[in-house]
Structures are given as structure tokens and as C-alpha cells.
């Protein structure tokens, strides 16, 4: 009794298993059919649409609207091979998407390389008619086990797959491999004939690629439709390798360029050093022994230097040669000088003439004698100055107005008394210092100056007395295009001078006054 129960249970379980397996296969088959049928609906215009899934499987179908379709017994599917009698194929129906119905005929016993005539009747009326040869309508499953691997070489991938299991057709199959970067929609196609592997070349490095394969019979002995694309396989290509030849060439070229640059730098070493790291002028040469012997003690140095002390309560002299105008300006501070500007200008204009006989034109004072001596010394022993880009000509004088950073009791605001520059500039034609003034030409300011002068002037190195302390003033070079102002000398704290920044106001007042030398505090940053 128990054994019987066990046997029945075992048989029942076996039946259930078979049923489940059959159902699963049927479901898979139906899903497979639906996929292929949907493809053929797009590709094949004729009805019925037929395809051979294998050597023993041939399916024909057509689609009708569910509302218009009749019952299954209204339809008859007949087929006839060449020189044979016709046969009938049993029909089945399957619902399709969109309210449609599939009418399906499965033929099991196939005959190839012979023409087959198909006729579909509905209630005795022919609705579909078609003639075909089965071996020309294969629709295979996509290749299975698509594997993509690296070949070891840059930009290459090896794609392999398992061909559909069809006898006599391995050498008649043609494959298409589509590959593209994962993000791209456009892909390249590689064709392989009678081979189940292909090597993709010229791929981008370090890129994720998507690879798919489909199969079709080549059309010589067998033919059919392209199968569906296989499931995509993603793989990233190898990173780019640096070509050793390119690396070595890059190194060589870089080395050559570096050598050339070094040679160029070395040949222009002094010039570049001068430009990049200009030597900071020091007043050592001007004040001999000041720093070496007296350690910077100017008082002591003054007390021990020969040549006299140029200090006056009112003036600090730079090493620059005093121009004739400067001489005049010094004189103009003192009440002995005529206050009228015209007279001063006349005197200034007559500089050249009175230079040598200057003593006759001045009042004999101790300072005047000293000034005269200086003037003679200047004329007899011109020495070139060291500045080339500044206003160094002794022929010109530019009155500057700057920031007053310290008390200056001696500063006289006589800007309004300044003469026009064209009057001030003496026409010193014989330029021992190669300086010249171009009276009458238009001059323009640039930036920091307000030169309303009508003249343009250029000054180069001039003679100077390096040993003598000179004025503290701002020299300006006005070439008519730009102005370059820099302090001429560094001034210690002997006299209070106005520190002059880069501002330059060279306004020539309307009225004329005596030429005066103004005192400014100047920072000489040389």
C-alpha cells in the first residue's frame, strides 16, 4: 500500500516536472518566436511571412486584427513542393501586441532546394499566396557566448563567439560585429565570413567599448535574414602606451633646445645680468672715502675732504654740473639778484655769451666768486655724467613740484614765478655733452608730468663734477613723447629736501618770475 502510494507520487512528480519543462520550453519558444516575428513584420512585406529557425523548423505566420479575424477553422494553410501534391499545415493563434492576432503554421518535415508554393484560404477565398525555397529564408538565433578579450596589442580587441548549431552551414555563415564606445550611438561594423572570431583594430585606448554580433547565411547555397544582435558585451581597451621612439626623440629635442638656450644665455650673460639685476649705483665713487674710511659718517668726511664744503643753508649740491641757469637760480635766491624775471631770462639767454665773462656780470660776493669758480671749472673740465636716460643737460632746468614730506623752510613756492621753459632753456648749440634743445617744437606730457612747454628737449650724458655735492632735484628727460624722471643724486640728511615721487608737474605759469631753484626732498633710490 505504501509502495503504491510512493509510486503514484513519484509518477505524478515526474509528470509535473515534464509539464513544467515543456511549459518553460514552450514559453521560451513562444518568446523566441515573438522576437523573430516582430523583426519580420518590419522586414518582410509579403504574406505569409516565413522563416526557418533551423534544419527542421520552418514557420509561416501572418497577422490580423483581432476584431476582424475569424475563428481558426475558417483558415486553411496549404503548401506544395515542386512536382508533389499539396499538403495542409495545422494553424495556431497567438495574441500579439496592439490588439492583433498571430496565425502560425509550423512545418516539421522540410525539403530544401526545391520550390514550395503556399496558399492561405479563408472560407474558400484565397487571401495569401507565396512561392519560396526554404533554404533561402533562414532566420537564425544570434551568436551565443560572445567573448571580447585583449590581444595584448594597443588598440585591439579579440571577439569570439559560438556559431549557431546548424549542420552544413558553418562555412556558409557571415557575421557582422558592431563595436562602438559605450556612450556613442554610431558604431563601426566588421564582417567575418565562415569564421567565429574577429580582431578589432584601431580602437581608442582607455575607452569602454560595446560589442555585438549577428549572423546571416551568405546567400550562395543558403540565404536568409540577419539575426538579432547579440547581448552587448562591454570591455575597456588598454591604456595608451608611450612609444619609446617618441619619448627618446622628445628627450633629444628638448636637450638640444635647452643647450641652445643655455648657449644663448651665456653669450648674452652680461647683458641679461645688467637688465635683470642692474647694479645699484652707490655713491662711493662720488664720495671717496666716505664709506671706506669714515664708515658713512658724512660729518666727519666733510671735515676731512678737500675741495671745500659746498654746503649752504639753502642748497644741497649734487655731483651734477651746475648749469648756467642753476647758477643763476642760486643767485636769484639772494636779494642781490634782480627779482625781475625778464632780467633773469635775459641773463639766462645770454648764458653762452656771458659764460666766459660771467664774473663781470655778477656782484662780487664771496659766494658769487665761488660760483664763478665753479662755473669756470665746469666749462674747463667737462666730465661725462653717468646717466643716460635722465634730464642731465645743464642747459635746461625743470622746476618740479612734489610731495613735501618734511619741513622745508627754504622752499619757496615760486612755481608761479617760473619762467616758461622756452625762455628758460638756453640755446647751447655747442653741446659738449651732446645735448640739445629744440625750441619751438611741440611737446606733450605723458603720465606723470604736466609740461606745458612748447619745446621738446633731449638730454644725454653731460659733464659733471663728481666730487662736488650737487643739487637735489629731479631731472627729467622729455623727448616729446614720454618723460622719464629719476632723482639725480642721493641726498643725506644735510638739508631738508622734499621727497619727490613720480609725479611731475611742470606747469609753466603765465606770468614770469625770477628763476628760482626749489628745494625738494628727494629719495634717490639708486
Amino acid at each position: 500500500m505504501t509502495c503504491d502510494h510512493l509510486r503514484r507520487l513519484f509518477a505524478l512528480s515526474l509528470m509535473l516536472m515534464f509539464c513544467a519543462t515543456g511549459t518553460t520550453s514552450l514559453l521560451q519558444g513562444s518568446r523566441n518566436f515573438e522576437k523573430k516575428a516582430l523583426r519580420l513584420l518590419k522586414e518582410e512585406p509579403q504574406n505569409p511571412k516565413c522563416f526557418a529557425g533551423g534544419m527542421k523548423d520552418f514557420t509561416c505566420f501572418w497577422v490580423e486584427d483581432e476584431e476582424r479575424a475569424g475563428s481558426l477553422d475558417q483558415y486553411t494553410f496549404t503548401y506544395a513542393y515542386q512536382n508533389e501534391n499539396s499538403s495542409t499545415c495545422p494553424l495556431t493563434t497567438t495574441p500579439a501586441a496592439g490588439g492583433k492576432l498571430f496565425f502560425i503554421c509550423h512545418l516539421k518535415r522540410l525539403q530544401m532546394f526545391v520550390q514550395m508554393d503556399i496558399k492561405v484560404h479563408r472560407e474558400g477565398m484565397l487571401i495569401h499566396n507565396r512561392s519560396l525555397q526554404i533554404e533561402l529564408f533562414f532566420l537564425l538565433d544570434p551568436p551565443a557566448n560572445v567573448t571580447v578579450s585583449h590581444t595584448g596589442q594597443q588598440g585591439q580587441l579579440n571577439v569570439t563567439w559560438v556559431p549557431p548549431p546548424l549542420k552544413y552551414k558553418d562555412d556558409s555563415m557571415i557575421y557582422q560585429v558592431i563595436y562602438a564606445p559605450a556612450e556613442s550611438h554610431l558604431g563601426q561594423v566588421e564582417v567575418a565570413r565562415a569564421s567565429s572570431k574577429v580582431i578589432l583594430r584601431d580602437l581608442q585606448s582607455s575607452t569602454k567599448y560595446r560589442v555585438q554580433v549577428r549572423v546571416k547565411l551568405d546567400g550562395i547555397a543558403f540565404n536568409g535574414y540577419w539575426s538579432a544582435w547579440s547581448e552587448p558585451v562591454f570591455i575597456e581597451t588598454l591604456p595608451a602606451e608611450i612609444d619609446p621612439l617618441i619619448v627618446s626623440l622628445t628627450f633629444i629635442i628638448s636637450f638640444i633646445i635647452i643647450v641652445l638656450v643655455l648657449i644663448t644665455l651665456l653669450s648674452y650673460y652680461r647683458f641679461l645680468l645688467k637688465k635683470v639685476w642692474p647694479t645699484i649705483p652707490t655713491p662711493d665713487s662720488k664720495f671717496k672715502g666716505l664709506f671706506t674710511v669714515y664708515g658713512g659718517d658724512f660729518q666727519e668726511w666733510l671735515g676731512h675732504t678737500s675741495g671745500g664744503l659746498w654746503l649752504t643753508p639753502a642748497f644741497i649740491y649734487s655731483e651734477e654740473c651746475q648749469s648756467n641757469l642753476e647758477v643763476l637760480s642760486e643767485l636769484s635766491i639772494y636779494p642781490s639778484l634782480p627779482p625781475k624775471a625778464s632780467k633773469v631770462s635775459t641773463i639766462a639767454m645770454n648764458n653762452d655769451k656771458d659764460t666766459k665773462t660771467g664774473s663781470d656780470d655778477w656782484r662780487a660776493t664771496s659766494q658769487d666768486h665761488w660760483l664763478l669758480d665753479r662755473l669756470r671749472a665746469f666749462q674747463q673740465d667737462p666730465r661725462p655724467c653717468s646717466h643716460s636716460s635722465m634730464l642731465e643737460s645743464q642747459d635746461t632746468y625743470v622746476a618740479l613740484s612734489g610731495h613735501r614730506q618734511s619741513e622745508d623752510k627754504h622752499v619757496v613756492d615760486t612755481l608761479e614765478e617760473m619762467l616758461p621753459l622756452e625762455v628758460l632753456f638756453a640755446s647751447r648749440k655747442e653741446a659738449r655733452c651732446e645735448s640739445h634743445s629744440d625750441l619751438g617744437s611741440v611737446q606733450q606730457n605723458s603720465g606723470s608730468g604736466q609740461l606745458s612747454s612748447q619745446s621738446s628737449f633731449e638730454y644725454t650724458n653731460n659733464v659733471c663734477a663728481p666730487n662736488a655735492p650737487g643739487y637735489t632735484y629731479m631731472a627729467g628727460a622729455d623727448s616729446g613723447v614720454s618723460m622719464d624722471y629719476s632723482p639725480m643724486s642721493r641726498v643725506d640728511d644735510i638739508a631738508k629736501v622734499v621727497i619727490y615721487a613720480n609725479e611731475y608737474k611742470n606747469e609753466i605759469p603765465a606770468h614770469r618770475g625770477p628763476l628760482l631753484l626749489r628745494q625738494y626732498h628727494i629719495h634717490d633710490d639708486r
Partner: protein, 185 residues
């Protein structure tokens, strides 16, 4: 002494005859590459397409016997190699006979070229079969006595049968030829 001289002369004679006399041909190298047959198939297809466009002067004067082209793979695999070879060789002979009846009736020059080419290809296929060591075929006295034949009355049908026969049975025979299988193994 004379015997020795005689033997020497005899040997020398054999050597000379071996060089001069063509004698029996050496066995042909097996032609297993199916691309040869593929070429013939494509030319046969071109001939069929050309024949479809023909309207006049391209018909058969009489009905001819042609081989059946139907292939059922299950039945085909049940046959042995000899049966398969005989079936193929018979079919090729029938086709050659049928093409021979074309000549006088076809007036179109282009179609004549196709027919001549087809006839030459059939001879080449026979040579391929010989290279595969298939037994030499002995044609029957009367084609109508053969079984498994069809009859066709139009040139289009004849060339269609020709194409199907090459694509089907001939190709299957060459694919499974023992001579080619030995090379693979």
C-alpha cells in the same frame, strides 16, 4: 654476360619509357575548397536570371529529364557516400544532356554564352568529383529509364533545376567527401 647486358638494356628501356610515355595520369589533387563550387553556383544563378529575361528564341524544343533537387537532410544523411555520389553523378549527366538540347533553339548570343559556360562548368564539376576519388560514372543507355527524375519543358525551369542541384546535392556531397575529411583529420 648477355643476360646482364639484357637486363641493363631492359632497365634502360623502362627508364626511357617512363620519361617519354605519358602513361597513366597521376591521381589528381583533391579539390576540397568549396569556393570553386561557389563560383559555379554563382555563374549558374547568373544564367538563370538572364534566361528569365528572355522572351523569344530561348526555349527548349522538347521536354527533358532533369534530376530532382529536393534534399531532406534526414534522408540524405541516411544514404552512404556511394549512393550520394551516384545520385550526384547521375544528376550531372542528366543536366549535361539537357543542356545539349539547348544549342539549336537558342538564338540569343548572350544566352548562348551562358549555356556554354554552364556546360563547361558541369564538366569541371565532374573533374572535381574525380579528384575526390569518386567512382567513375557510367551513364545509362536511356535517360528516361532513370528513377528520381523530373521533366521540364522550359529553359527557365531547366536552369533553375541546375542551380538548385548544384546548391543542394552537389555541395552536400563535396562537403562530406571522404577525401576532404581525411585532410581535415
Amino acid at each position: 654476360m648477355l643476360r646482364k647486358t639484357g637486363r641493363g638494356l631492359f632497365a634502360l628501356l623502362l627508364i626511357v619509357l617512363e620519361w617519354t610515355c605519358p602513361g597513366l595520369l597521376s591521381p589528381l589533387r583533391p579539390i576540397c575548397d568549396l569556393r570553386v563550387l561557389n563560383h559555379f553556383i554563382q555563374e549558374a544563378r547568373d544564367a538563370e536570371v538572364a534566361m528569365r529575361s528572355c522572351r523569344e528564341g530561348c526555349g527548349l524544343t522538347q521536354t527533358v529529364s532533369v534530376p530532382q533537387t529536393t534534399v531532406n537532410f534526414e534522408d540524405w544523411e541516411k544514404k552512404n557516400a556511394l549512393e550520394q555520389a551516384e545520385e550526384v553523378q547521375t544528376g550531372l549527366w542528366l543536366l549535361q544532356q539537357a543542356l545539349g538540347s539547348f544549342g539549336p533553339s537558342v538564338t540569343n548570343t548572350a544566352l548562348n554564352n551562358h549555356i556554354d559556360n554552364t556546360a563547361r562548368n558541369l564538366v569541371s564539376i565532374n573533374a572535381v568529383l574525380r579528384s575526390l576519388n569518386f567512382q567513375e560514372y557510367t551513364p545509362p543507355a536511356n535517360a528516361s529509364s532513370l528513377d528520381g527524375t523530373w521533366t521540364v519543358s522550359s529553359a527557365t525551369e531547366l536552369l533553375q533545376v541546375h542551380v538548385n542541384f548544384l546548391r543542394g546535392k552537389v555541395r552536400l556531397l563535396l562537403m562530406d567527401a571522404p577525401a576532404c575529411q581525411q585532410d581535415v583529420s
